[in-house]
Chain length 594, copies 2
């Protein structure tokens, strides 16, 4: 408990004490003067530092590795001996850029991916930060330190989409306190890169908080040209996970920006990205792989970081290099290679047992020194953080009596209406024209009932009557449909289930996904949520949805950093020209009482 307490508090005296205590215990085991807690016998070590494989035993004390080698004098009467003959011991996999709040909770995700070998996740903090406030986020991270899967955090310094009150929600003092936390590895992802290029002082002020604390600045440079990347590197951007072509990988790597190659539910581009290695094989030593914000259905079907390793080897990446991309490379990138990413003394005992390097799905997984999975089955207890308490603040709450009427969704006046035309699952083009056949009415509604932003969406699902969801980038309520009555009924159902996604047709709720934790997550199992996700996809496809990821479509209809037009708190937003096309208006009913 001491070590944990110090990690959280960041109090130097405490931290020094627990560090020393741990090192004394480890060195005692290493010199054979104290028994190991566990002893992995007769394994074959994948040494990511040298790229070799050779026979070794691994002694564990507490959460860490104390010894690797041939001796056994640290095996005592109470040492648990774990046989590993014929098994390759590989460091636990590291996910360097994840959004572990995609329907599942971080704990639910951990339960699913620990048996698949992932033992460390660098995670975005935004949803819990926004919905539970900084103290809520800190309470969540504190609770999550009890998990055998180790979370490090990337702290956002601005909201996903612009709204009034943002400066108040992201004050420098609070951010500095968060960044000081030893579990915070970086700030970012910085989606507002055009402002960075312009040298925006307020944004740079926030990045400097990380720079002076020697933490990374995570980029999100989607669509930036090789020329613009120069300015982004100059502004301090250290990494990017957004390349969607081999050329974009090269553009970023050449500018000194570390690249995370992505295979996600939304962007399964990995195969193409490895093309960059054909042109620049020397790049391999710095590459990382990521699943980004993959949905439960995608993870349930393909796996997690193990899937990335499999794809890399299928693309001809030599196996040792593929494993380095998910172990040593991300550990080194984040300046944590003394803690994670390799099997060596002093590191956390995060070890996966493989039958063969060609098969990254492990037979057994040890995380933070304990056996957590066996034959694909979780054997460790993974407690949920106290979410109810964490989400008890105002941001996650609905206005009491929030109740919309069909009239709230009626057509906008005027001939030239702002239409968001979907041209992919997430990219929109702006059309300014009268409403037409197949268009859907669209709205973004404040959870607190204070305002509504209305527009038109084309190319989503023409036969959808009414859908409402709290899955939006700023956690307000997105409403879509052809039938204002169905839309109102869908919105009005949400408070009862504490948020989620509801579809209404002809007066009947035909789909309901309750996400009672902040309106974004449920504590169900990942396969269960994956099934609900597939059900939604089928339902929407039957109503005309043409893409593969309706959750991200909904989420990003409000994301003002993606081309070309979005629904935001301020109104329908022209991203490129940064202007409101049609302003939000106050909501008379329901809201102001909240």
């Amino acid at each position: 408990m001491r070590a944990k307490a110090s990690h959280l508090s960041g109090h130097p005296t405490l931290a020094v004490g627990s560090w020393v205590g741990e090192r004394r215990a480890l060195t005692a085991v290493a010199r054979g003067a104290a028994p190991a807690d566990r002893y992995i016998q007769d394994g074959t070590l994948l040494n990511v530092y040298t790229g070799e494989c050779y026979p070794a035993n691994v002694a564990i004390k507490g959460e860490r590795i104390a010894y690797v080698g041939g001796r056994a004098d640290m095996v005592g009467a109470r040492t648990e001996v774990i046989p590993a003959r014929g098994r390759i011991l590989c460091p636990g996999y590291i996910e360097p850029h994840s959004h572990p709040w995609n329907l599942v909770t971080p704990a639910v995700l951990a339960r699913h991916v620990l048996p698949l070998g992932t033992t460390t996740i660098f995670a975005d903090n935004l949803p819990v930060y926004e919905l539970a406030g900084p103290r809520g986020f800190e309470a969540a991270t504190r609770a999550l330190t009890r998990l055998p899967l180790r979370f490090y955090w990337m702290v956002r310094v601005h909201a996903q989409s612009r709204s009034t009150g943002e400066a108040r929600r992201f004050p420098a003092g609070t951010l500095a306190r968060l960044i000081d936390n030893p579990r915070v590895a970086a700030v970012g992802e910085i989606t507002r890169w055009p402002e960075l290029l312009e040298g925006d002082r307020r944004l740079l002020d926030r990045l400097a908080l990380a720079a002076v604390r020697r933490k990374r600045i995570e980029g999100h440079t989607a669509g930036a040209s090789a020329e613009k990347l120069q300015g982004l590197a100059a502004a301090g951007i250290a990494s990017c996970h957004e390349p969607i072509t081999a050329q974009e990988v090269l553009d970023r790597a050449r500018a000194g920006i570390a690249v995370m190659l992505r295979q996600s539910s939304l962007r399964p581009d990995l195969k193409a990205l490895f093309g960059a290695l054909k042109e620049a094989p020397g790049l391999a030593a710095r590459l990382m792989l990521t699943t980004d914000g993959s949905s439960p259905a995608f993870v349930a079907e393909h796996g997690f970081v193990d899937h990335l390793v499999r794809l890399a080897m299928a693309e001809g990446v030599p196996s040792v290099e593929a494993y380095r991309m998910v172990t040593l490379n991300p550990a080194t990138y984040y300046g944590l290679d003394h803690e994670i990413g390799g099997i060596a003394p002093g590191r956390f005992a995060d070890i996966v047992f493989l039958r063969d390097l060609s098969e990254p799905t492990p037979e057994r997984v040890i995380a933070r020194g304990r056996l957590v999975a066996e034959g694909g089955r979780l054997v460790a207890k993974i407690p949920e953080p106290p979410w109810r308490r964490i989400f008890s603040g105002p941001a996650a709450r609905f206005a009491p009596g929030l109740r919309l009427a069909p009239e709230d969704f009626g057509l906008l006046s005027g001939r030239r209406k702002p239409v968001l035309r979907l041209v992919s699952a997430v990219i929109t083009r702006l059309e300014e024209r009268p409403a037409a056949e197949g268009d859907l009415l669209a709205a973004l509604v404040d959870r607190r009932g204070r305002w509504i932003c209305r527009g038109i969406v084309a190319g989503f699902a023409r036969d959808l009557h009414g859908l409402a969801t709290t899955l939006s980038t700023d956690f307000q309520i997105l409403v879509l449909g052809r039938d204002p009555r169905a839309m109102a009924q869908a919105v009005n159902r949400l408070p009862a289930v504490k948020g989620g996604l509801v579809v209404v047709e002809r007066g009947r709720v035909i789909y309901e996904l309750a996400l009672p934790l902040g309106g974004i997550m449920a504590a169900a199992s990942l396969p269960d949520l994956a099934a609900r996700e597939r059900e939604l996809l089928d339902l929407l496809k039957a109503r005309g949805y043409a893409y593969h990821d309706p959750l991200f479509t909904c989420l990003f209809l409000t994301a003002d950093f993606l081309p070309e037009v979005r629904l935001t708190a301020r109104g329908v937003w022209d991203v490129k020209h940064r202007r409101v096309l049609s302003p939000s208006r106050p909501l008379a009913r329901g809201g102001r009482r909240g």
Copy 2:
């Protein structure tokens, strides 16, 4: 000046402000909205991130790179255009482990090695810390930030050799303050590794100060077996530069300890060390190269980091990998790859111009944005720190009236005397026997005149009459000779020249190297000091010295971390058994008045 001030003070508000100002200036140049200060035109870029070479221009603003690419819209009327057609642009070389106080001052070293392409040095702080105190060290580092060569510091947490008062000289609070300095990259080198293996709490307490601040812990694991290295890695040791065989390189790398391959005046082992790459080619991505504490004569003859690159390529290391070992790899190891080690926007503009990758001696060198060398000639001003003021404290002073007599060096009583038998330039074996033909009388004398430690040295230079020097690991006075009168005369000459090395024969000073800066350095040029060093070697060889590095022999006769017996403040010291063989005794004359 703002940026410099903040680097020194470590004051977050100041640091944030200067970081932001710098980024705004850089991004303005990158987008073509402001002129660059300098523009390197038509070069061929060695991109260490991708391992590629391709044509590029580099725009510089202030001390940093603002842009790399094909555009020229940041070239203004006052932009200095530097032609680079046909030249390879390579990042400035990084020395990851140096003792820049070997007769020369750091500034003298900088003057010599900048024209050879080295633009960053990670340097040991011990001599100035011990001789000038923490405030003196801080004053020196502050003055050195004005140099175009960038010094980062490794802070020692214990003395080189044991003495009373050590705990008082290395208090935790002071060390914590030093480690907080952004220019301090690590603690170490930790020569007392046997204590680490034993889990020594006082030593671990000091290392923890670095660990909790995310700074590296530099090792010095000379002679540690593969088994013992496990315990050292467990104790937090992050690197070692001490391997002298390929097997020792592999032992350390396999234990997760980063390796710096060394070619120094004392240990020119580099050729053999590259043998490790034959067994484990995958290790190349993490290797670094170092000159360690090379003497002026060695640097004058062979070069500095450029020499290491040349040797690496001669041993068959592919050129891009060789350059990475002295640029990107050390930058990454120290968590400073966003600052140094590559030519990309945001990094310091440290750029060497090469005719060809096969020739690492540069034609031109830019450091911190300015041309500092051209055709091997220094063109920048390199100011000396105010050494007189820095060394004005008590530690560097001699006792007023310090005066030894021949009787002070008379033979020890008793038949079995502790004899330090040199078996190489620095390694000794213990012989306990009567004095014999060819032995030298030996003593270590406190500068403040309080004590003397006496012993016998065999195998140094049998015809040496009297030598005295302040070049000893704890900065006291080492005295060697066969003639007590010559020895006393040599010691008594030292205060007049403020320290250095004096040789006396038949009543005459036959060699005198004045090192008035703390008794360890002179502000002469490196070639001049190299000539004085060669002169001493010739003189000692003529008197029977059989090795290649008499300065290190003298320095290390007092180093209680090397086998097998040493002269120390406490007395003649048995290293392995950690016991005094013959205690020091108080000095009656000269001392107590000081």
